[in-house]
C-alpha cells in the first residue's frame, strides 16, 4: 500500500453520491441479455438426465436408443469428462454412483427441445438403489449408510481406519474454556438446528457453448466468475485455458450460488461431441434439486457470564452437512460464531459431514448465519436470565480495535460498537410494542475477502473513459467502479463506462464473492486510474516541453507543479486525449493485484414481529439493519445489500427450507413450496449505514454484500421468544412449529 491509501478522511466529489445505475434502463425494459438470451446459428438444445434416487450405484447406461432418435446429435455421460475427475466434475456428471436426488447422470443435445426431452426418456440407466441418509445428525451416527467409501475423517487423531460420513474436524479457540466456565455465575446451554436453504436467485443457470474442431471454444454464461468457469471447465475437459473464451452475461442474482459450475462443462462436452453450439437452460426444479443450497446444521452452544454480564467463556460444537461432497463450511461457522465479542476463553469444534443431498454452493456469508442463530439466541437467553438489556450486554462484550479474534487476527478499526450505538439511538429501539408483538436483536460478522483482481482503463480521444473489470456485476458494482474512476480522474461520473470484460481481455480475476468487488476491483480501478493520470501528466509535459515531474493532476486537469515549472494553461483530460496521437498514441492505465486488507464487516439487526397465537402466523412488522460499510461508495446499493440480506435471512428464519421425504427425494423443488418472502410479506427494511473506514482501502471501503444475512435468523428467533414466551430453536420457525411450541408451553 502506498502512502496515499491511508490519507483519510478525504472530501469526495463522486463517491458517496446516489448515482444512477448504468445497467438500470436495460434491466427494467428487458433489453439486458441474461444467460438464456443468447442464441447461435445451428444451435442445439441440451438437456440433463437426473437421478431419481438419493443414492444408487450406476451399473450401466445405455444411450443407443436415444442416439438413434432423429434430431439427437450427442449424448454424454461421465465418460466424456476426460480431464480431472474431482468433486466438481463428479457433481456436474455422476461417476459410478448417483449421490443425490437430481444428480446428473447423462445429457443429450438435439435439434429441438422436444427431441431432447424424448431422448432423455430413451436413455436406460440401470440403478442399484442403495440406503441413503439426508440428515446431518443421522449421517454421523454409527451404522449410518456410508455414502463415500473413500472418505476418511481429516483432523482427528489417531487417523480413522474406516470411512465414514464425517469429512473433517476443525477446532478454533483460545484461552481455557474450563477455567472460563468455572469463573461464570451463569451458564446458558442450548442446541439449535437449521434446515438447508437455497440462494433463490430468479435467473436459472443457463449457457451456450460452442467448441470448434480446431480446439477453440466460446462460452456465454451467467456466472459470478467467468475466469473461474474458464479455468475449471478447461481442467475438467482437458482444454487449454487460452482456447476457451468465456463471456459473462448479465446475471439475475447469484448470492454465492453461481461461484461454481454445473451445466457449463456439460454444454461444452456436448458441443465438442456434436460439433455444434449447445444451449442448456436449467428449469427451476433442476435449480433446486441440483444447485445451491446452503448447509443444514445442528449446533450446541454454551456461554458463561458473570452476574454483571461479562462473558467468561463460549463454546460450540457445529455439525454441518453440505451434500455428498466434503466442504460444508462448518469451519467458517466455527471461525465466525463468537467473533463479535471480546472473549478470553473460546472453543469451537466444527464437523464437516456428507449426506445424500446436492453439493453445497456458497450462499451469502456461507456458514455464518446458522452459527449466529445459535450464539445470538443463547446470548439473548443469557440477557433474559441476567435481567440485562440485550443491547447493553452486547455493547459490554463487543469486539473493538485491538481485540484478538479466536480465529487469529487482531482487529484494526472495526464498526460493531458503532452499529450497536446506531441501533440504540434509533427511534425503532425506543418505540413501544403492540399486543402479541415481540422484539429481537442480533449481531453478525463476516470476514470479507480481497483476492486476485485485474483492471484496465482506456482514455478515449473524446475525453471519455472505458473501464474494463473482470468481476461480474451482481449488486451494482459497475456504478461503483464508474464512481471511483471518476473520483480519481476528476471527471464526471457519466463520462465513464464500465464493462465486464471477457476472459481473453484481462488477466485472471477471482469470482465475485466474499463481498470483494467494491473493495478489490475498486482498489484496482483506483490504482489503474492513478497510472493513467501519471501517463496523462507525461503527455502534458511533452505538449508543454517540460519534465513530467513538473506536472500535477488536479480536478481532471494537468497543471504545472509550481511557478518554476513554467506558465501554462491547465490541460483537461479531453484535451490531452485529443492530442494523444502526437504524444505517443493511446493512453491507458492498468493494475493487477492480489488484494490484501479487506476489512471485516459487522452488522446489528433489530426485528419487531407480530404473532397470531391461534394459527402460528408470524408477520415481521418493523426491521432495522445497521452495518459498517467503511465508506459507502453508492449508498443506494449499500442499503440494497443490507435490505436484500435481511429479506433472505428473514425467509430462512420463518419459511424457507428443503423438505426431504423418507425416500430421500426433495419434495419442494419450486417456488410454491419453497417459500421465499414476497414483497407483501415484509415491511420496508430501514438501513442505517455506519462508516468506520477500512485502513486497507484508499477510500476506506469494506465489503457489504454478506454480513446482512448473518443476524436475521437470531433477530427473528429472539423476537419470537419475546412475543411467545417460548424459544424456537429450529428453522424454519414456520407456523406449525410456532403453534406446536405454544401448545407444548401451555401443557
Amino acid at each position: 500500500m502506498d502512502q496515499s491509501q491511508t490519507t483519510l478522511p478525504r472530501r469526495f466529489k463522486v463517491v458517496g453520491q446516489r448515482k444512477r445505475r448504468p445497467d438500470g434502463i436495460d434491466k427494467v425494459t428487458g433489453r439486458a441479455r441474461f444467460g438464456a438470451d443468447m442464441t447461435m446459428p445451428g444451435m442445439l438444445w441440451g438437456l440433463v438426465l437426473r437421478s431419481p434416487h438419493a443414492h444408487a450405484r450406476i451399473r450401466s447406461i445405455d444411450s443407443s436408443k436415444a442416439e438413434a432418435l432423429p434430431g439427437v446429435k450427442a449424448v454424454v455421460t461421465g465418460a466424456d469428462f476426460n480431464g480431472e475427475r474431482n468433486d466438481v466434475s463428479i457433481n456436474c456428471m455422476a461417476g459410478d454412483k448417483a449421490l443425490y436426488d437430481g444428480h446428473a447422470v447423462a445429457a443429450v443435445a438435439a435439434t429441438s427441445r422436444q427431441a431432447a426431452r424424448q431422448a432423455l426418456k430413451l436413455i436406460e440407466v440401470d440403478y442399484e438403489v442403495l440406503p441413503h441418509v439426508t440428515d446431518v445428525d443421522a449421517a454421523m451416527k454409527p451404522g449410518a449408510p456410508v455414502i463415500r467409501e473413500d472418505l476418511i475423517t481429516a483432523g482427528v487423531e489417531p487417523v480413522p481406519t474406516k470411512p465414514s460420513n464425517v469429512a473433517a474436524r476443525h477446532e478454533i479457540g483460545k484461552g481455557d474454556v474450563e477455567k472460563g466456565f468455572a469463573e461464570a455465575d451463569l451458564i446458558v446451554e442450548q442446541s439449535f438446528r437449521t434446515e438447508a436453504t437455497h440462494q433463490g436467485y430468479i435467473e436459472p443457470h443457463a449457457c451456450v457453448a460452442s467448441v470448434s474442431p480446431d480446439g477453440s471454444a466460446e462460452l456465454w454464461v451467467c456466472t459470478q466468475g467467468h475466469f473461474m468457469v474458464r479455468n475449471v471447465c478447461a481442467a475438467l475437459l482437458g482444454l487449454d485455458s487460452a482456447q476457451l473464451r468465456v463471456t459473462a452475461s448479465e446475471i439475475g442474482g447469484g448470492f454465492g450460488g453461481k461461484t461454481t459450475v454445473f451445466v457449463e462443462p456439460v454444454a461444452l462436452a456436448l458441443s465438442r461431441k456434436a460439433n455444434r453450439p449447445v444451449k442448456i437452460q436449467m428449469t427451476r426444479s433442476e435449480v433446486f434439486r441440483a444447485t445451491g443450497p446452503t448447509a443444514s446444521s445442528s449446533i450446541d452452544c454454551k456461554i458463561g457470564l458473570t452476574k454483571d454480564g461479562r462473558i467468561t467463556a463460549a463454546q460450540a460444537e457445529l455439525r454441518y452437512q453440505g451434500g455428498a461432497f466434503k466442504g460444508a463450511g462448518a469451519d467458517f461457522g466455527a471461525m465466525a460464531i463468537f467473533t463479535p465479542y471480546d472473549i478470553e476463553n473460546v472453543k469451537a469444534v466444527a464437523w464437516d459431514v456428507v449426506t445424500n443431498r446436492p453439493k453445497l454452493a456458497a450462499y451469502r456469508a456461507p456458514g455464518a448465519p446458522m452459527a449466529a442463530f445459535a450464539a445470538e439466541s443463547t446470548l439473548d437467553e443469557a440477557a433474559r436470565r441476567l435481567g440485562m438489556d440485550p443491547l447493553e450486554l452486547r455493547l459490554k462484550n463487543a469486539a473493538r480495535e485491538g481485540t484478538k479474534a479466536a480465529y487469529g487476527p487482531t482487529f484494526p478499526r472495526i464498526g460493531l460498537a458503532s452499529c450497536l450505538e446506531a441501533i440504540g439511538n434509533s427511534a425503532h429501539y425506543r418505540t413501544p410494542l403492540g399486543p402479541n408483538q415481540g422484539r429481537g436483536l442480533a449481531c453478525g460478522f463476516w470476514f470479507n475477502f480481497g483476492g486476485e483482481t485485474c483492471t484496465t482503463i482506456n482514455v478515449n480521444k473524446d475525453g471519455t473513459v472505458g473501464l474494463s473489470v473482470g468481476t461480474p456485476d451482481i449488486g451494482g458494482s459497475r456504478a461503483s467502479m464508474c464512481a471511483m474512476a471518476a473520483e480519481e480522474l476528476g471527471i464526471p461520473y457519466e463520462k465513464v463506462r464500465t464493462v465486464i470484460a471477457d476472459t481473453a481481455s484481462l488477466g485472471y480475476n477471482d469470482v465475485t464473492d466474499g463481498s470483494r468487488v467494491t473493495f478489490s476491483s475498486g482498489l484496482c480501478t483506483i490504482q489503474a486510474a492513478r497510472q493513467a493520470i501519471q501517463r496523462l501528466c507525461q503527455r502534458a509535459a511533452l505538449m508543454w516541453g517540460i519534465d513530467a515531474e513538473a506536472v500535477v493532476w488536479e480536478d481532471g486537469h494537468a497543471k504545472p507543479a509550481g511557478p518554476n515549472a513554467g506558465k501554462f494553461e491547465p490541460l483537461s483530460l479531453a484535451e490531452i486525449a485529443a492530442a494523444s496521437a502526437n504524444t505517443g498514441g493511446p493512453i491507458a492505465g492498468h493494475h493487477e493485484v492480489n488484494a490484501e486488507g479487506a476489512g471485516v464487516s459487522f452488522g446489528v439487526h433489530l426485528c419487531d414481529l407480530e404473532v397470531d397465537r391461534e394459527t402460528g402466523s408470524v408477520r415481521v412488522v418493523r426491521y432495522t439493519a445497521a452495518q459498517d460499510a467503511g465508506k459507502a461508495v453508492n449508498p443506494d446499493y449499500v442499503e440494497g445489500q443490507m435490505q436484500g440480506g435481511s429479506a433472505q435471512g428473514i425467509g430462512w428464519a420463518l419459511n424457507e427450507g428443503y423438505v426431504y421425504g423418507d425416500d430421500g427425494r426433495l419434495q419442494n423443488a419450486g417456488f410454491l413450496d419453497y417459500r421465499i418472502p414476497v414483497a407483501s410479506d415484509l415491511p420496508m427494511i430501514d438501513a442505517l449505514i455506519v462508516e468506520e473506514p477500512n485502513p486497507g482501502h484508499p477510500y476506506g471501503v469494506r465489503g457489504v454484500g454478506e454480513t446482512s444475512i448473518v443476524p436475521p435468523l437470531a433477530a427473528v428467533g429472539n423476537a419470537l421468544r419475546d412475543a411467545l414466551g417460548v424459544r424456537l430453536t429450529e428453522t424454519p420457525m414456520a407456523p406449525p412449529r410456532v403453534l406446536a411450541a405454544l401448545a407444548a408451553a401451555a401443557e
Binding site: T615, N655, V659, D673, R675, S680, P735, L739
Partner: protein, 288 residues
C-alpha cells in the same frame, strides 16, 4: 399432441369422446400449461373451450348467476352483481395466483383440477353451487362437492365437460365468506381453507348453514356437524366454539410438506370460526 378450439359445446364433447388417448380440457390453462411444461402429463388431445360463447359469460338465471367455465377470476371480480350477492365466492376465486394469473384462471378449472387445496371450491360448496356437466349423454347438474373424486381426479365420465357453474339466488339474511391459511401473504396455496354460508332470521338466529373445509382431506369436506353447531344459535361464543371443535373434528388431514396434520386440524377450527363471523356480519348487513 393435437390442439382443437371448437366453437360449440357439442363439438367439444365429440372431440373429447372421440379421443382414445389422454384428452384434456383447456380453459384458463393456469394448471394445465404448468403440468404440460413440467412433463407431468402428455395428452394426445387438448380441447380449448374459450371459443365457445356460453363458456365466456356470466348470466343471471332464476335470481342467481350462471358462470361460464372459461370466465376468468378477474371477470368475476369485476361483476358488481355477482360480487354483491356472493362476496365469499368471489374473494375465494380472487385469491388464486397473481394479478396476471387472475386474467386467465377460472373457477371451473379450479374445480376440475381437483386439488384438495383449491381456493374457490370450499366457498362454492358452502354456497350450494352446482356444476352443469355436458357430455355424450346430454346435460346434468351436479353439486360442486360431487365433482372432485380425489386429489387430481374428477367424477366426470369420458367426453364430459363442466360447461358452467350456477350460484343460486342469494336468500334474505344470507351471507358467505372464505378464509385460507397460507404461510405467506400472497402467491401461495391454502394449507387450510374454510368456506361458510349462513342465513339469519330477523332475530339474528341462524336458520341454515353450510361449512366447507379445504386442504384437510383428499377432497373438500362439507362439514355438516360444524354447520349444525351454528343452526338455531345467534353465533354466540359457545356456538362458535362448538363450530370450531366440530370443524377440527371433521378434518382428516395428513402430514405433508405444507404442514402437519395436527396443525391443520387446529387451524381448520380457527378458520371456520373466523369465517363464520365474517359471514354472520355479511348476513346481518343483508338482513338490514
Amino acid at each position: 399432441m393435437r390442439y382443437e378450439a371448437p366453437e360449440t359445446l357439442d363439438a367439444a364433447v365429440a372431440l373429447l369422446a372421440g379421443e382414445s388417448g389422454l384428452a384434456k380440457v383447456l380453459a384458463g390453462g393456469t394448471d394445465l400449461l404448468v403440468q404440460l411444461r413440467s412433463g407431468m402429463i402428455e395428452p394426445a388431445l387438448v380441447v380449448d373451450i374459450k371459443r365457445i360463447a356460453e363458456t365466456r359469460r356470466i348470466q343471471e338465471e332464476s335470481g342467481g348467476f350462471r358462470i361460464g367455465a372459461a370466465v376468468s377470476g378477474a371477470e368475476m371480480g369485476e361483476h358488481a352483481g355477482l360480487k354483491a350477492a356472493w362476496p365469499g365466492v368471489v374473494e375465494a376465486v380472487e385469491l388464486i395466483g397473481s394479478t396476471q394469473v387472475q386474467g386467465r384462471a377460472t373457477a371451473a378449472g379450479n374445480l376440475c383440477n381437483a386439488s384438495p387445496a383449491a381456493d374457490s371450491v370450499p366457498a362454492l360448496v358452502a354456497a350450494g353451487a352446482t356444476a352443469r356437466i355436458v357430455g355424450p349423454g346430454g346435460s346434468r347438474e351436479l353439486p360442486v362437492e360431487a365433482v372432485a373424486a380425489g386429489p387430481g381426479r374428477t367424477s366426470l365420465g369420458r367426453g364430459e365437460i363442466v360447461a358452467s357453474l350456477f350460484l343460486p339466488a342469494r336468500g334474505a339474511g344470507q351471507g358467505d365468506a372464505y378464509l385460507r391459511f397460507i404461510p405467506r401473504t400472497e402467491m401461495d396455496i391454502a394449507v387450510v381453507g374454510a368456506g361458510v354460508c349462513l342465513t339469519l332470521d330477523g332475530d339474528g338466529r341462524c336458520t341454515r348453514a353450510r361449512v366447507a373445509l379445504g386442504a384437510v382431506g383428499p377432497r373438500v369436506i362439507l362439514a355438516e356437524a360444524a354447520a349444525a353447531a351454528l343452526v338455531g344459535t345467534t353465533l354466540d361464543e359457545a356456538a362458535l366454539d362448538a363450530l370450531a371443535e366440530a370443524a377440527s373434528a371433521a378434518a382428516t388431514p395428513i402430514d405433508d410438506k405444507r404442514g402437519t396434520a395436527d396443525f391443520r386440524r387446529r387451524v381448520a377450527g380457527v378458520l371456520a370460526r373466523r369465517t363464520a363471523v365474517i359471514a354472520r356480519d355479511r348476513a346481518k348487513g343483508a338482513a338490514a
